[in-house]
Point group: C2
Chain length 212, copies 2
């Protein structure tokens, strides 16, 4: 038999850490080599230890699991990171995968599913839980349908949402009011709305700013 898989758990919930430990304690092929309740502690861990697989919570007190994942993989590209989240929201799944996570598990995963994810990911493949996969598909589908706006349009959009008038935006961006007006018109046209309220409504409904 080969060496056990070295697992690091990064989660700020003591209950979750204990839960995973408890679920995996009878598994010889997986060995929990450490736990960390913050991004900082996680980074410290890697200065003196190594791991094969990391269970990564998305909500950490100091840094998001998404950013921490990207950061760790830059330093240690061989790491296999599996996201661990309460949420099925497609945006999270997408961002974790984009950050380089090899797996996505929900916190209501069964012992069986946890083990499966570890094995699949350790073998070099990806494992995304069915619910997360579905949310991701939905997300990607939606994403393709959403209109694309330019960098400048996004800047203007954000300032509009903040309640600035065209003239205030113009002042802030050092451009003419007419230009701001043009961007605004283009936004209305692209997003298929015809006033400020509808514009904001569109952004909120589609969590549009998350895509940009």
């Amino acid at each position: 038999m080969c060496d056990p898989i070295k697992l690091l758990i990064v989660d700020d919930h003591q209950m979750i850490i204990e839960g995973i430990q408890s679920l995996l304690e009878d598994q010889a092929k997986v060995k929990i080599v450490g736990t960390a309740t913050s991004a900082k502690l996680c980074e410290q861990f890697f200065t003196t230890h190594t791991a094969d697989i990391v269970f990564m919570d998305i909500n950490l007190p100091d840094l998001s699991g998404i950013d921490l994942t990207a950061l760790l993989l830059k330093k240690y590209p061989a790491l296999h990171i599996i996201a661990l989240s309460t949420f099925t929201q497609g945006t999270y799944v997408r961002k974790m995968i984009e950050s380089g996570a090899k797996g996505y598990l929900l916190k209501n995963a069964s012992k069986f599913e946890i083990l499966k994810a570890i094995e699949v990911v350790h073998s070099g493949q990806k494992y995304i839980s069915p619910e997360a996969q579905e949310a991701l598909n939905y997300e990607l589908n939606l994403q393709n349908k959403l209109p694309i706006i330019t960098k400048r349009e996004k800047e203007v959009l954000i300032l509009i949402i903040e309640g600035l008038s065209n003239s205030q935006i113009a002042e802030k961006l050092f451009i003419s009011i007419d230009t701001v007006d043009s961007h605004r018109k283009n936004l209305y046209s692209k997003l298929n709305v015809n006033n400020t309220a509808m514009l904001i409504g569109f952004v909120n409904e589609n969590k549009y700013l998350d895509y940009l």
Copy 2:
């Protein structure tokens, strides 16, 4: 020594259940008499068993922990329910307490805090974790500070948010445009904003419609 405290854990996350069990297994004064991963299973539990304290997750697949708490307490008023949540959001804390929960614990609680909560609540007092208490105070504070708008103003507000113009609103409510304009001005004045975007921003930031 007296009988151990009978604890039921209601949470749809296997990891959390395992975690709590693991944290409490060496405690003689607390005995976990059951676990339930849904509201339905929780209700079934009580048809054949009893418990002193219930750890209640807020997000359950079939029914919210808030509603389940109210429902259980109607049937079994002697129960002591402690909410268990990832979230510090004041709204949740408030609603759980309103539903009759005697405690509020965050899922990153330490073993020590969990035990303390159990003991305090079992003795008949309330235990709310410091962070949750703070969020609750903030919530109640905020609630008192939020301006009060009238029924009609609320109707107009909603239509504004939906993107209708004053004239469209007037048509819909069978009143004059000037009247709609008056309501709009009063809204701006009461909520201390001066354009549509800021109005919507205020509503979103404060989840204002939830209070009305």
